[in-house]
Symmetry: C2
Amino acid sequence: MAIKPDYIRPLDLRHGRIDMNHGAGGRASLQLIEEVFAAAFDNDFLRQGDDAARLPPPPPGHGLVMATDGHVISPLFFPGGDIGALAVHGTVNDVAMLGATPLYLSASFILEEGLPLADLVRIVRSMAEASRAAGVPVVTGDTKVVEQGKGDGVFIATTGIGALPPGRRIGGAQARPGDVVLVSGTLGDHGVAVLSLRESLAFETTIESDSAALHGLVAALLASVPEGAVRTLRDPTRGGLASTLNEIARQSRAGITLDEAALPIRAQVEAACELLGLDPLYMANEGKLVAVVAPEAADAALAALRAHPLGAQSARIGTVGVDAQHFVQMRTRFGGRRMVDWLSGEPLPRIC
Amino acid sequence: MAIKPDYIRPLDLRHGRIDMNHGAGGRASLQLIEEVFAAAFDNDFLRQGDDAARLPPPPPGHGLVMATDGHVISPLFFPGGDIGALAVHGTVNDVAMLGATPLYLSASFILEEGLPLADLVRIVRSMAEASRAAGVPVVTGDTKVVEQGKGDGVFIATTGIGALPPGRRIGGAQARPGDVVLVSGTLGDHGVAVLSLRESLAFETTIESDSAALHGLVAALLASVPEGAVRTLRDPTRGGLASTLNEIARQSRAGITLDEAALPIRAQVEAACELLGLDPLYMANEGKLVAVVAPEAADAALAALRAHPLGAQSARIGTVGVDAQHFVQMRTRFGGRRMVDWLSGEPLPRIC
């Protein structure tokens, strides 16, 4: 158990694979951490080398925000992204949706025995690149290994901490009758990009995932209108726009009416969904936000979103109303009305 | 996809099982969150109901500490604990080992399709109880579901945030030659308790896991000696005492010499390890800490540890010395010396 090898060879990052030793907490774990994780994420916080990171607190007067997300997407690589970048974007976005500035990320990796190191390196580098691009460092982490057949390549749980400016109260419960509902771009791109790779559904598309960090877009939006005019921000991930709006309606004890003709949906996404018998309103997005804003601020907010590269196709898609049952409804293109319920029935598993 | 059921029955927490719908982000996900997670963890932060939690910041002048840990222990239930309590203790302890006060936890659950809801409820309740006992609430969370055979019951990644008092510098790099090494109790209890249940190793023992939150013990220790006298605190989990001391020696660029006769090890643990050809120095602990303290503070520190219920069997087990190669060595009971290397060779998988 305690034989000291004379010489430790570097990991074979091209042809090597994860084995149970990499999760045992000994020399092999240390080597994996140093040659794969620390090499990619390198920053002063990680370099402290303890089991926790010491971090500067948020600026005086600011509150803390904390969000966590497990990522189990299958396949690990998809058009427009991979699980590594997604794990950064998903958690940065959850922090940003309260109007907070994301500061730090932690990452917990659960690896399956047999995972090619080349895949892990590709994922970790992509994650590090997304973290650098977002300006939110991965400051601490953990790695576990499970036996082949007890996991599925890589799962990544990321947690984010952010700083909340004093007096900011953005949340799902803040929408009020009369408010306007905006969305920052086309719906369903991520869901269709991932589904296009699933064995049972394989079809051809050039649609890419919209996976992106939205804190810059949120900052631009908030700078464009008075404090308090943005009531709710939320990223419509699993369950899509329909589930997100139902959550907001429920939290705010209001109704929401959508305008079908105003929904930005790519023709290719619409076609793919029709082919598969799916509805773009329930398809996951990973780089879009829903904003509920005060009516008098709606024009300025929409203009600010459209002026940002991640919001060029933003649209005004609905309004908040009074509804004791908190229903989400849609005015259809043909002048009718239909319910837009929570996702129920067949799920689209492991879309994030 | 959007059919509104007339009536949602409550989850069958006795006979029900996790299915893919529980991870899809729609109504079934919401029901699982409300009837299992929110019901158990209930607190003002979780009740905010957004994808992130708004939290009071650490007290003025304090720094932040962040730690994360994935938990993949098998089996999920073991003598003295379960994966739920362990997930709280492991992360609380990582925060506490920097001398910080743990404030908040997040939890990411990765569930395998088919998991009995009764098992999940038992785990979540145990986790909630551990969280309440520690005074560290679970303020936000996430749940994903993977197909049967792509996970293993439950994995839980917890992240902790703590407040670090100004001027506190406890860490793996702070040990200095002359310092004294203390341990807060018997070694290897957790590892032996878990191994006793493994199919291939089944043997009888009454040993229970030592799984416990150590922040109270740390507070008692720190109150007993001047600031700066405690150099390093670390919980010897995966890889056991041997790996932890090698980490400290490496980070502090020093050597460590252990005194075998001083190591507190239960006779049952010693016997079980002998039977299995294992060494208690490499067995995981989940409720013990190693403290490296200034020599002049060692007696007071040991007395403070022993006065606490979680440190009654604390012992002085070694000293820090000068060693350019950062070796950990042991004076054996028979007057010899042997190297205590990093864990290498056969690992003990999924011990935490």
